[in-house]
């Protein structure tokens, strides 16, 4: 399956969806004006991937900041991953900086919402 790689900008995160190398990550800032449009390709990719996925995956989130409209789209990504976890093992790794309790709290909140393997990983600044 073709890799989806979106480079980071000042207002959008870097996205890597690479089935071949088993690398899945969303990292950086997310505050686009239209977050639905921005995350649309991610949903499309994940839906397609769900049909053919065979191996376990690690999905990494390393968010520096996301606005509320992105929060909703990230929730949708999680729901797709939850569905996927019926088929293959899905491990979520939610990275946050030690200095960023808000980001830790966001991770906790998402983890409570989901029946997914959810690891909160603190990183030094």
């Amino acid at each position: 399956m073709e890799t989806l790689h979106i480079e980071a900008t000042e207002e959008t995160p870097e996205i890597i969806l690479d089935a071949e190398n088993n690398k899945f990550s969303i990292s950086g800032k997310s505050l686009p004006e239209d977050s639905i449009a921005f995350y649309e390709p991610v949903f499309e990719w994940l839906k397609k991937f769900s049909e053919e996925a065979e191996n376990d995956i690690d999905f990494e989130f390393s968010m520096e900041y996301f606005n509320t409209s992105s929060a909703k789209q990230i929730a949708k990504v999680f729901l797709l991953l939850e569905k996927l976890s019926d088929k293959v093992f899905v491990q979520i790794i939610w990275k946050y900086k030690k200095s960023d309790p808000d980001m830790m709290a966001s991770g906790m909140r998402f983890s409570k919402l989901l029946s997914l393997e959810f690891e909160l990983r603190e990183e030094d600044c």
Binding site: E10, E11, L31, P32, E33, D34, S35, I36, A37, Y65, N67, T68, S69, A71, K72, A75, K76, S99, D100, P101, D102, R109, K112, L113
Partner: protein
């Protein structure tokens, strides 16, 4: 509000109303660094683009703005004084008024430097276009450059490029230093006759008001996603104490400003550019307040205020529940609305969200929202 604040009675609403007659007002008070001047320039560029100004005018505005900002950067500190108090910090104001882009810089000067500066300014102001050109050459050949790297060439350049006089005034701060205000204006119709008079006291009053309210930034202009990003980079440069607070301020600002980008109404729909917003940051002791004022359609008021009132009545656990419910409510999920903005503001701030409504006409009102961090 309501009590007499300055001789000219400025308050948030009169400020906004006054600003509304102008397409763009941008005020920044504080320390000037490279990143800050860059983002001020980017903000103005974006605004001039969005209202469709000619590239010739834009170029002229920029070159003067760069001179202004360099002047402030260079002269923002007084030798031998370690701490810059609020009333001594640099000031930059750009506004579009009376069909001209008017830029005013403010910085401290040593009182003993004033006579020379006055002489230079009066000399520049007394010369016509051709005489300015000759004078420029003369100063250039003379090669007398001051210790701060200026030779008055900047002033001559500003007068030449703007085609207008440099209006100025000094306000004494103490026996050693004064505050120096200088205005340069560029007519929107480039070939128009020079502007006779600029009342620089307007800026002085405004400066007093923002000092009194501890405001460091006022942005009044068409707001779009691009200008939002520029304002954010400016905020990232500021010292707000703890990193955690800085992050919170950033988060809250994004939500407040995107709120205006998406829902703000316009007084005059035919006007180009984004939705007008009055945004300012004030400081009150240990706390910072983020304030966004914008027009709102009267038909939307009830929806917004009832939601704020509800959120204000909830405790932390209830807020958390409310957030979760809204997060998974995909009935409210479109490019304009996720239904999470206000609850996020309320949670991040830990304080009640305050708001003030003032009717403007049958269709719109002015809403000023304040979030404390």
């Amino acid at each position: 509000m309501g009590q007499k604040q300055t001789e000219r009675e400025i308050n948030e609403l009169t400020l906004f109303e006054g600003l509304q007659r102008e397409d763009l007002v941008y005020i920044y008070r504080g320390v000037f660094s490279q990143v800050i001047t860059d983002s001020i320039i980017a903000l103005t560029e974006n605004n001039l683009d969005s209202v469709g100004e000619s590239s010739k005018l834009k170029k002229r505005v920029f070159s003067i703005m760069v001179e202004c900002l360099q002047n402030i950067t260079r002269h923002q500190f007084i030798d031998g004084r370690e701490n810059v108090t609020a009333d001594q910090s640099g000031l930059f104001v750009v506004c579009n008024k009376d069909k001209a882009y008017q830029m005013t810089s403010g910085n401290v000067v040593n009182n003993d430097a004033i006579p020379h500066l006055k002489k230079l300014l009066d000399k520049v102001n007394s010369l016509d276009k051709d005489a300015l050109k000759d004078y420029y050459k003369q100063v250039l050949e003379d090669g007398s450059i001051s210790s701060k790297g200026g030779a008055g060439l900047g002033l001559i350049e500003m007068a030449r490029k703007s085609g207008n006089k440099l209006f100025y005034t000094f306000e004494e701060l103490d026996e050693e230093i004064s505050y120096f205000y200088m205005n340069t204006s560029i007519s929107q119709q480039l070939e128009e006759a020079p502007i006779d008079f600029i009342d620089i006291q307007d800026v002085v009053s405004l400066h007093k008001f923002i000092l009194q309210k501890n405001i460091m930034l006022i942005f009044n202009g068409g707001l779009n996603q691009k200008s939002l990003i520029d304002i954010l980079s400016l905020i990232n440069e500021q010292a707000f104490g703890k990193l955690e607070r800085k992050k919170k301020m950033y988060n809250v600002m994004v939500e407040m400003l995107q709120n205006v980008v998406k829902h703000g109404a316009k007084y005059d729909e035919s006007r180009p550019g984004g939705s007008p917003v009055l945004f300012y940051i004030g400081q009150n002791g240990e706390e910072f307040s983020l304030n966004a004022g914008n027009y709102i359609e009267n038909t939307c008021i009830e929806k917004v205020t009832s939601k704020i009132d509800l959120l204000n009545s909830l405790d932390n656990n209830e807020l958390d529940d409310f957030y979760m419910k809204s997060l998974l409510d995909f009935d409210v999920d479109n490019s304009k609305e996720a239904g999470l903005g206000l609850v996020d503001l309320r949670m991040k701030s830990g304080h009640k969200i305050t708001y003030e409504l003032t009717p403007v006409n049958d269709t719109i009102s002015f809403i000023l929202m304040q979030v404390t961090i």
